[in-house]
């Protein structure tokens, strides 16, 4: 996908305005653009889930995954709600407990692709069980029933059906309680993206300011745009820290870390964060994949190549602290860094 993403991104970013390596403008502030591409596996499998539908219409989804702040609780709720034709507020997701059905670890950008198919399948099975109760009451084949907009009705004929609450009254005292698991066909692996960055560099002090970053990124089916973009912002900021600030400095004589605190181990503050633009490529035909880590891959190299484009100096280690950038610029002036 890189070829088309590069073309799309370059156009939006204004890549044609990029100058040759070494900004020829006078004054100490030099501007440069850089670009980098990446891919990541993602995917995931093996999660199980449990769905309860009560006679009062309430829905509870249980799954043993955990939300590290990435929004999987929201995603679980959304997928179940969409499958059952309900608003998100009508579904309660219960997660983060080892007593709940097994789910994988939250790593490798595998959570969404590992969890959501199980939610989809299990919610579908629960709906089938509800349809089996509603069909006879309506005098129709349960196979013809669907759930949309808070109603369980004959497909294509919303009027011929029951409101969700009324449908659930047919459940009786024993709730619909269904177990299910991840199944093939709703997810896949393999994401790709490209990133562009523009920086200002003060060649007299070595200070680098990242002005803007544009990314073109896919992650298969976008389950929720807000959360997917939020993951991309987080990934880019994480990688910007890798590029610009984070450094574990060890004393060579003793092996002890000399900056083991938040004063000396640097992380970006608000004013260090550039404008970040995201072009999220939706590929529903590929199923769910995952988006946590992919955007962290290429930000650092997009920034470092932009610094090279601005200054003409090649910097071969991160982070781009002023001392490192200034030293590289001075070496370049003195005859190059090889």
């Amino acid at each position: 996908m890189w070829r088309s993403y590069l073309e799309t991104g370059a156009k939006v970013f204004g890549w044609d305005k990029r100058h040759a390596t070494g900004d020829a403008q006078s004054g100490p502030i030099k501007t440069g653009m850089g670009c980098s591409v990446h891919q990541w596996g993602g995917g995931g499998r093996g999660s199980r889930a449990h769905v309860d539908i009560m006679s009062d219409g309430s829905v509870v989804v249980k799954v043993g995954t955990q939300d590290l702040g990435t929004g999987i609780r929201t995603i679980v709720t959304m997928v179940a709600a969409e499958t059952l034709g309900l608003p998100v507020s009508a579904v309660k997701a219960e997660i983060g407990d080892t007593n709940y059905p097994f789910s994988g670890g939250s790593g490798g950008s595998t959570t969404t692709a590992g969890v959501t198919p199980a939610i989809r399948w299990t919610s579908g099975k629960a709906l089938d069980a509800l349809a089996a109760k509603v069909g006879p009451a309506l005098g129709v084949d349960p196979e013809t029933l669907v759930a949309t907009n808070g109603r369980v009705h004959v497909k294509g004929t919303p009027a011929k059906g029951l409101a969700w609450k009324d449908a659930c009254k047919l459940i009786g005292t024993e709730p619909i309680s269904v177990d299910g698991e991840w199944g093939d066909g709703l997810s896949s692996t393999g994401t790709s993206g490209v990133q562009f960055s523009e920086v200002d560099v003060d060649i007299e002090t070595g200070i680098v300011k990242v002005k803007r970053i544009l990314t073109v990124q896919d992650c298969g089916l976008v389950v929720d745009k807000l959360l997917a973009e939020s993951q991309i912002y987080g990934g880019i900021i994480g990688s910007l820290n890798f590029a610009m600030f984070e450094d574990r400095i060890l004393d060579r004589n003793t092996g002890q870390m000399v900056n083991p605190n938040m004063e000396m181990y640097l992380l970006a503050g608000m004013s260090d964060i550039p404008k970040i633009d995201i072009m999220l490529m939706n590929q529903p035909e590929r199923g769910v994949i995952g988006i946590g880590e992919p955007p962290t891959v290429s930000t650092a190299s997009a920034i470092a190549t932009a610094v090279r484009n601005a200054t003409g100096a090649t910097i071969r280690s991160l982070p781009l602290h002023p001392h490192r950038v200034l030293q590289a610029i001075e070496q370049e002036k003195a005859g190059g860094t090889l």
Partner: protein
């Protein structure tokens, strides 16, 4: 933290008296430095003397011109003071670049100029020269010393981290001290000491002494100022290097100039040789170049801080040539 007594005097005299004990007594202003040192076991005072009710918290005009800034004035109030901004904007700028809004709300002027070294070995409690030991860990062949001294190092290579100090030196400020023997007024330069004088302190205060106020003379009011601080991040960092200058011009010639840098040595350095060399010269890029080259003569880098030489050269150049500080025109964050 070791248990300590807390004393809250309400006059300068009582504060000085309260510091005189058999044991370690330390004054506390905003507490931004000393509390961290206590939590890290670098300093373990027996008595803490709150000086915020004892020392001057006002900024007032002096009879013959100039301003008197109380040592207990908060950084945020210094930043916001209209007369300071009008007469000595270099102070306003230096104050505004300190730490974070939280630190500026809490910290005081006296505390900012009197703060201890940030050397990461010293601050982590390594038993170095400054801590009373007999080695400098940062100055070993493999020591990590990117933030350390390039000038006047002697055994210890830690630097003074204050942002306001170079601005006050450039303005030829006077520091008023309260001691057991009475009041003493010294020049800003003389307030700070290097390891050759005392390796365990960054300033002249002996136990029991207090800095009570700072007087800014009228001489440099409304002069042309330059202040720039270089740090890793846009906020919340101590300087890798900072520079302050005050200058008056006669035509395009430099009539008078004072210039100081910090974070290159254990004390903020006034660059008297540079001042002499550029006085009477045209206020031009060439003079700036000359000043920069002269400023770094004799600088001795350690393994990881040789960048401070071009950095100091370039900052002094900017401070003398009167070039506008690099403008980040297209930076979206500002």
């Amino acid at each position: 933290v070791k248990a300590f007594a807390y004393v809250n005097p309400t006059s300068e005299k009582d504060a000085v008296a309260a510091l005189k004990i058999d044991g370690v007594a330390m004054p506390i202003g905003g507490g931004q430095d000393i509390l961290a040192r206590m939590k890290d076991y670098i300093t373990q005072p027996d008595r803490i003397v709150n000086i915020k009710n004892a020392l001057d918290t006002t900024i007032v005009a002096m009879p013959g011109g100039g301003l008197k800034i109380g040592a207990a004035v908060k950084i945020v109030d210094l930043m916001a003071h209209a007369q300071v901004r009008r007469l000595y904007p270099a102070i306003t700028e230096a104050a505004g670049l300190i730490g974070t809004p939280q630190i500026r709300n809490q910290g005081t002027v006296g505390g900012n100029v009197s703060q201890d070294a940030r050397c990461w070995y010293y601050r982590a409690g390594w038993p170095c020269y400054r801590a009373g030991g007999n080695i400098c860990y940062a100055d070993t062949p493999d020591g990590r010393n990117r933030e350390h001294a390039i000038l006047h190092a002697q055994r210890c290579v830690a630097v003074n981290p204050s942002d306001t100090a170079p601005a006050l030196i450039a303005l030829d400020a006077r520091f008023v001290l309260q001691t057991a023997k009475g009041e003493r007024v010294i020049s800003a330069e003389d307030y700070f000491v290097g390891p050759d004088i005392d390796i365990t302190r960054l300033n002249i205060l002996r136990p029991g002494d207090l800095l009570s106020s700072i007087r800014i003379p009228p001489m440099w009011a409304g002069a042309r100022f330059y202040f720039e601080k270089i740090r890793d991040r846009a906020v919340w960092d101590f300087p890798l290097l900072n520079v302050a200058s005050a200058m008056t011009l006669s035509g395009d010639r430099i009539e008078r100039i004072r210039i100081a840098v910090n974070a290159v040595a254990a004390r903020p350095l006034r660059l008297a040789a540079v001042e002499r060399a550029v006085t009477g010269k045209a206020n031009s890029a060439a003079t700036g170049e000359m000043a920069g080259n002269l400023a770094v003569q004799g600088a001795v880098p350690l393994q990881f801080n040789s960048y401070k030489i071009p950095l100091m050269r370039n900052l002094v150049k900017r401070a003398v040539a009167g070039e506008q500080e690099a403008t980040w025109t297209s930076y979206s964050g500002q």
